[in-house]
């Protein structure tokens, strides 16, 4: 905009030069605020990667990810230990996938029930009850998991499976420990259930009502409508929700840290103790020498990138499924 050079006296309608500068300044302020998100994220990634670099350098990135021996050194200035994070990556993936195995069918069922079967007055209540599971702090899950769930429910069920013919398979074989991959997977399943349910509900709600009504008009039963119209129509949403749940599961920390058993022996069994990426970070942080902390930072960096890839894929899928607003409030 050209600066005003008229000679007539300014009228009341004319903006002052201060007023004209206000908008660009406002733009600058909000731009800086928006940029702060990028700055914070970049600072976190760069700082952790630099600090973790000696470990990546000594082990090689592939060696770090695939090595199976973790022997923390005590040096303050150089890398003397052996750092192979595979047992932790294995534990994280194992409990996450077992958790998804429970959580995804449950979430689909709950979403179908809430959207299609429950009377409309009950829908909101059901939805917010499930959301309540997401509000419970992780450390409370850890507490109740340790003193109640694993003693009264998970270990007995695990023992039952191990004693049944399934127990002959190595995966389900004894012994059944109280703190195990199985306990960790169970608590994870409960914790990721709300987000998967919420996304499934959104996806189901977006199925065109005409198609549902057309299926009913052709004589389909309620189950047939759900099975053959609603679920196939929202398949992308279900996959996206599952991936977001996986992202949550990979990053969950406190509840896992006290339920997985913190064993370095990465057993093939489900009911045996192990360790996960997040749990090894919080459980060994306080006792680590500087070089051990670099190694934990290296696990953190690896975890960040794995979670980021999963989340980015999830968001692409969910967006494509026609969901625009984020699930930020969840």
């Amino acid at each position: 905009m050209a600066t005003a050079t008229q000679t007539d006296p300014p009228s009341g309608l004319q903006g002052t030069s201060r007023g004209r500068r206000a908008d660009p300044m406002f733009r600058a302020v909000v731009l800086v605020s928006a940029t702060s998100v990028l700055v914070v994220l970049a600072a976190m990634i760069i700082r952790t990667t630099i600090d973790a670099w000696p470990v990546f350098d000594a082990m090689g990135i592939w060696g770090f990810l695939s090595g199976t021996e973790w022997d923390s050194g005590s040096s303050r200035s150089e890398v003397t230990g052996t750092y192979g994070a595979f047992p932790f990556i294995y534990g994280t993936l194992k409990i996450s996938f077992v958790a998804l195995l429970f959580a995804v069918p449950l979430a689909i069922g709950i979403a179908l029930f809430t959207n299609e079967i429950a009377p409309s007055g009950l829908r909101k209540t059901l939805a917010s009850t499930v959301d309540l599971l997401a509000m419970v702090p992780s450390v409370v899950y850890a507490l109740v998991g340790i003193y109640f769930f694993r003693l009264q429910i998970w270990a007995p069920i695990g023992q039952f499976i191990a004693d049944s013919p399934l127990g002959n398979l190595r995966f389900f074989g004894p012994p059944v420990l109280l703190s195990s991959y199985w306990s960790a997977a169970n608590i994870l399943a409960i914790m990721i259930l709300p987000i998967i349910t919420a996304i499934c509900r959104e996806a189901f709600a977006q199925v065109p009502r005409d198609e549902v009504n057309a299926a009913y008009a052709m004589g389909a039963t309620r189950w047939e409508v759900m099975r053959h119209v609603i679920v196939p129509r929202s398949f992308a949403g279900i996959v996206g929700g599952t991936m977001l749940g996986l992202g949550r599961a990979l990053g969950e920390t406190i509840a896992i840290a006290y339920l997985i058993g913190s064993s370095q022996r990465w057993a093939p069994q489900l009911f045996f103790g192990g360790d996960a990426m997040t749990s090894v970070i919080v459980n060994t942080f306080a006792d680590s020498a500087p070089e051990g902390i670099w190694a934990l930072l290296a696990i953190g960096v690896a975890l960040f990138f794995i979670t980021m890839i999963v989340n980015v894929l999830a968001r692409l899928i969910v967006h494509r499924a026609g969901r625009f607003a984020g699930d930020a409030a969840l």
Partner: protein, 305 residues
């Protein structure tokens, strides 16, 4: 679609009445009914753990729950009964409060950028990375803040303490505030903004005095939910606040206490008194989070947009 057409009878006379059900229809209806029950059971499978959890927290918290619990600090020995989590509650509120004071205005301004100037590629990049940040594992944020602020090698060397903990919580809250505020600002009708422009208001005046107040209840709801999320976090605080056994007022230099951290210390010990206090701490955390979310819902109901 696997709905088979029934075989048509030859003459109208032996055609069964429409209300008569063939065995096939009967089977399909039965399947539908059974599946309705199965879906109902999945809902129970989610509600039963929730009820068990709340029930367990409630009955186990009772022994240690009293006024003392929020007015006194924990005794030095985990064997000793009595005392409370005053230092933890103070620390949690202190760190969450600082985080909220910085994060909420910053997040709202960032969201204004995304809605007012959000058409371009840069805004999309910001939006994308905000989403990435939403999914960042909290323990990674803890590690990063440790490396940036706490550690002396390469970081600022502030040491464990309030500021480091608050920063970690703030980083976890920021993307939630940005995205929920953006959603709410988008709901404000275009007409309202145009009316403001029509009266000669500038862009910043419209954004701050028209759009923002119109979306205020929704924004508040999002902000409160973000605070609730931050108040319940423990993992990043292990790496940044570290924990303390007394009420800490200083911003840095001294490790800060937190309810979650005290719970972890308490339930890791084999002493009943410490475990009882951990349960009471869990009760406190759930109470804080629930009260915040009820307030959030109450505010949301006032929303006009």
């Amino acid at each position: 679609m696997s709905v088979e057409t029934p075989v048509r009878p030859s003459s109208p006379a032996d055609r069964p009445s429409l209300s008569e059900k063939t065995p096939n229809v009967r089977r399909r209806e039965l399947v539908s009914r059974v599946m309705t029950v199965v879906l109902g059971l999945t809902v129970l499978a989610a509600i039963i753990p929730l009820v068990l959890l709340l029930w367990q927290v409630f009955i186990n918290a009772l022994p240690a729950l009293s006024l003392e619990f929020i007015t006194q600090v924990e005794p030095l020995s985990y064997r000793e009964e009595g005392g409370g989590y005053l230092h933890g509650i103070v620390g949690t509120l202190y760190m969450t409060g600082i985080a909220a004071l910085v994060t909420i205005p910053l997040g709202i301004l960032a969201a204004i950028y995304l809605t007012e100037y959000g058409g371009g590629a840069y805004a999309n990049i910001v939006r994308f990375f905000t989403d990435v940040m939403t999914g960042t594992p909290s323990v990674f944020v803890g590690l990063a803040v440790y490396a940036l602020l706490v550690s002396g090698a390469g970081g600022l060397g502030l040491g464990f303490g309030t500021l480091a903990g608050a920063t970690a919580l703030g980083i976890l809250m920021l993307p939630i505030v940005v995205r929920s505020t953006e959603e709410m600002l988008r709901l404000v009708p275009e007409d309202l903004k145009n009316a403001s422009y029509g009266l000669g208001a500038r862009r910043w005046q419209t954004a701050l005095r028209v759009t923002l107040p119109a979306a205020a209840p929704g924004i508040t709801t999002g902000a409160i939910l973000a605070v609730a999320r931050g108040a319940g976090e423990t993992a990043p605080l292990i790496l940044t606040a570290l924990g303390a056994r007394e009420v800490i007022g200083s911003l840095w230099g001294r490790p800060q206490a937190d309810v979650g951290l005290l719970m972890v210390d308490g339930f890791n010990q084999p002493f009943q008194a410490g475990i009882d206090r951990a349960w009471a701490g869990g009760f406190t955390l759930i109470a804080i989070v629930l009260i915040l979310s009820i307030v959030a819902r109450f505010v949301a109901r006032k929303s006009q947009v």
